[in-house]
């Protein structure tokens, strides 16, 4: 913890008072009077110190296996969005498959705060994640005419939210959390006062590492709060989604259950909503035993949707 941060925290409580005094005591339009007042030195000094303070030190270097990737192809693009704590590399296999079969341009997004450090993730919120998708969407839109959004878990929720405000050809949502029934989640802001990180299940991290993918060994609880915020906002905005949707969930998934599919169908305005269940799969269907079946279903859906016009 740097000294400047301590100093910033000390100043924070008084800064609003200084601004308030300055606004109330100096008549509007006569702020030049400040220049002549002795107090101006302190006010401007505090403002200058506050605005020039460095941000919290954090590891912002993106780890090697977490960089976004881009497979150049035809004028139709697929934008892949990974899940919470994960990385774009988890889509390498699926993207390569779809790229080979369809020839579409495939691009995988790295969400802000992912692939760096858990401290970096803690500082981000879902607005930053949304901006990450927006950045890659704009880059991809320069190369292609139509874009299909594809996401897993939190990435699929973000894709759905993004599709409410951007033109997309279709949406593929793998295990999308729309509403998680976790009554304990409301205590998370309180828990973050005492505990900032929660260890991820060792088996889960091991399964990612086995596949050569990077995954945080701890979960930033502020990030989890953001995930719940994201779901709440998405539920409010889903009525604006009009693109065709293919959504699927594993029946052995302990996080996202099949009620989410019903909720998704209920809330969106899309005319076509295809829902598929995978009885032998867990949360990461695209890495599970039924991945070939999922790949073929996604391929079928994408081919059908891009051929309709």
């Amino acid at each position: 913890m740097s000294k400047m941060e301590v100093f910033r925290a000390i100043l924070d409580g008084y800064y609003s008072n200084i601004l308030w005094f300055r606004e109330k005591l100096i008549p509007p339009g006569k702020t030049a009077i400040l220049e002549t007042l002795k107090v101006v030195g302190h006010v401007t000094t505090i403002e200058a110190i506050r605005s020039n303070m460095p941000s919290k030190p954090r590891d912002v270097i993106v780890k090697d296996p977490c960089l976004p990737f881009h497979l150049k192809g035809s004028r139709t693009g697929i934008l892949f969005t990974h899940g919470f704590g994960s990385s774009p590399e988890t889509f390498r296999e699926l993207a390569t498959f779809l790229h080979k079969e369809t020839g579409f341009t495939c691009r995988a997004v790295r969400l802000e705060g992912h692939g760096t450090s858990v401290q970096d993730l803690e500082r981000t919120n879902f607005l930053d994640w949304y901006k990450s998708i927006e950045f890659h969407y704009d880059e991809l839109a320069e190369e292609v005419d139509e874009i299909i959004m594809l996401g897993h878990s939190m990435g699929s929720t973000l894709s759905l939210l993004f599709s409410a405000f951007h033109p997309v050809k279709a949406i593929v949502a793998i295990s999308p959390p729309i509403k998680l029934h976790r009554p304990d989640a409301k205590f998370l802001p309180l828990i973050t006062w005492f505990k900032r990180y929660w260890p991820t299940k060792k088996s889960e991290v091991a399964s990612y590492q086995k596949r050569g993918h990077y995954y945080y060994s701890r979960r930033a609880l502020k990030g989890v709060i953001n995930l719940f915020d994201l779901m709440r906002v998405t539920r409010k905005k889903l009525h604006k989604v009009k693109a065709p949707i293919f959504s699927c969930v594993g029946l052995k998934d302990t996080r996202v259950n099949k009620e989410n599919m019903a909720l998704l169908e209920l809330l969106v305005s899309s005319e076509k909503v295809e829902v598929s269940y995978f009885p032998e799969s867990y949360h990461s269907i695209h890495h599970g035993d039924e991945k070939e079946l999922l790949y073929s279903k996604i391929l079928e859906f994408i081919t059908r949707e891009t051929k309709t016009e």
Partner: protein
């Protein structure tokens, strides 16, 4: 068609103003000026945990020593006045240690620290003098009132009443869906 294009870009954007600090192309991991700053902050000189308490203890011993060798040595342990600066040093150390651990909690701890300071002043006032003023105070009414209002009440009210947009409102503003 199947070749992998190397033009994947990564942007690092300033948290405050939103300006692009640097762009990274396909895993090129050069440190920017800003990142070097982060590194320089993180590389600050580190001491073992006992250095600061030990130095403060030595300072307290020095103060106590001065009191001990000077007259009149009538109070307990032959100390007349040194107990007050020693308590003050311990109090400041504890406050600084707490703040450096959790600086974001200053808006809770700050007012509490001022309350502690008020108690300290009150105790010092009560310990000496005739104690015939309001609440038995002789000289500390004005500093206590000052700390109570400017150190406790105003920062607390301002912080609690600070209007911050919710994340839903921020999102609506960002996508222009207000």
């Amino acid at each position: 068609m199947n070749e992998e294009a190397p033009q994947t870009k990564e942007r690092v954007i300033c948290d405050k103003c939103g300006t692009i600090l640097h762009e990274k192309i396909d895993g090129h991991k050069s440190l920017t000026d800003i990142e070097e700053k982060y590194v320089s902050v993180a590389r600050g000189r580190k001491f073992k945990w006992y250095v600061t308490p030990a130095n403060l203890l030595l300072t307290c011993l020095f103060i106590a020593g001065i009191d001990y060798v000077t007259e009149p040595n009538e109070a307990k342990f032959n100390l007349d006045w040194a107990v007050w600066p020693i308590i003050g040093i311990i109090f400041l150390f504890l406050a600084a240690a707490l703040l450096s651990k959790r600086p974001e909690s200053f808006w809770v701890m700050g007012p509490l620290i001022f309350i502690e300071l008020i108690i300290f002043l009150y105790a010092m006032d009560i310990a000496y003098g005739s104690n015939d003023g309001i609440f038995g105070l002789d000289w500390s009414q004005i500093p206590i009132l000052f700390l109570l209002i400017f150190g406790f009440a105003i920062p607390l009210v301002s912080k609690l009443g600070f209007e911050t947009p919710t994340i839903d409102e921020k999102f609506d503003r960002m996508v222009g869906d207000e």
